[in-house]
Symmetry: C2
DNA sequence: GTCAATATTTGCAATTTGCACATATATTAT
DNA sequence: ATAATATATGTGCAAATTGCAAATATTGAC
């Protein structure tokens, strides 16, 4: 009997759901602007609109390494900057193509989600009458 | 090195993402119309708009049992109808309340998703210039 | 009698995530 | 000096979640 992580919610707070394969296109999108290292991406993700959906560093680093294996990004170590070395990622052409198709998938996801929300609202509207 | 189920896509097909905790509100919503058994709900889910996101029977039955444990639905066996007996679920008051808060969560999820899609489109629009 | 449709459920392996920690460098405070 | 903090990247492991396959049982059609 699993406890269901997403069902834990404090009263009065929103608890947006995890969407599988949402993080990866977000990372590729940020890399489309300019190359960056994981820690920076983590920060930009949070300020982008994921403040309510806490992003775990390990998830981000793992996603980046996985995408590198798939040839969607490439990385190089940067020792020049102060502090610990950074692994700087940049988007490949393949990554750019995949990003477009993933956004297509997410549009489909969004349609499904909105279809449900609208249906719920319509149904509740009729209930009141 | 996991293979990532959601990344399997045939060329030219959309592959909408799984949203954690999306199935449960959908089931509660269908039960808000009238009591129903699992097999019927499975069928109504598919025709509702999940034709592209295949729903596995085991997932549906498990979600129903879990929600019963939580007091969101109640069930009774129906032996009267022909064929194998059916476990008929109906929504509880608690289920009704939870449904509303889960839809709120999904609205937040939808906002995040659309925020990303819009940002992507805007960025790509600027690229072209 | 066999096949298909209906209906519910379990088992198991694979996937995915969250949390805690390990490591290391540079900066700032004490 | 050294302790604490911010930066930066990772690993290990348990728990959550899913997908697939199969087991079971009833009814109706051929």
């Amino acid at each position: 009997m699993p406890r269901y992580r997403w069902r834990r919610r404090l009263r009065g707070t929103r608890c947006p759901r995890n969407i599988s394969g949402f993080l990866e296109p977000c990372l590729l999108f940020l890399l489309h602007h300019h190359p960056a290292h994981g820690y920076e991406l983590l920060d930009r993700l949070r300020r982008f609109g994921f403040d309510k959906l806490e992003v775990d560093p390990s998830t981000v680093y793992r996603a980046l390494r996985w995408m590198e294996m798939q040839g969607l990004v490439e990385s190089e170590w940067d020792f020049k900057t102060s502090g610990p070395p950074r692994r700087v990622y940049r988007l490949t052409e393949e990554g750019d193509r995949i990003l477009a198709s993933w956004v297509d998938d997410l549009r489909e996801t969004s349609r499904m989600l909105n279809h449900f929300i609208k249906a719920y609202e319509k149904h509740m509207e009729q209930e009141k009458k």
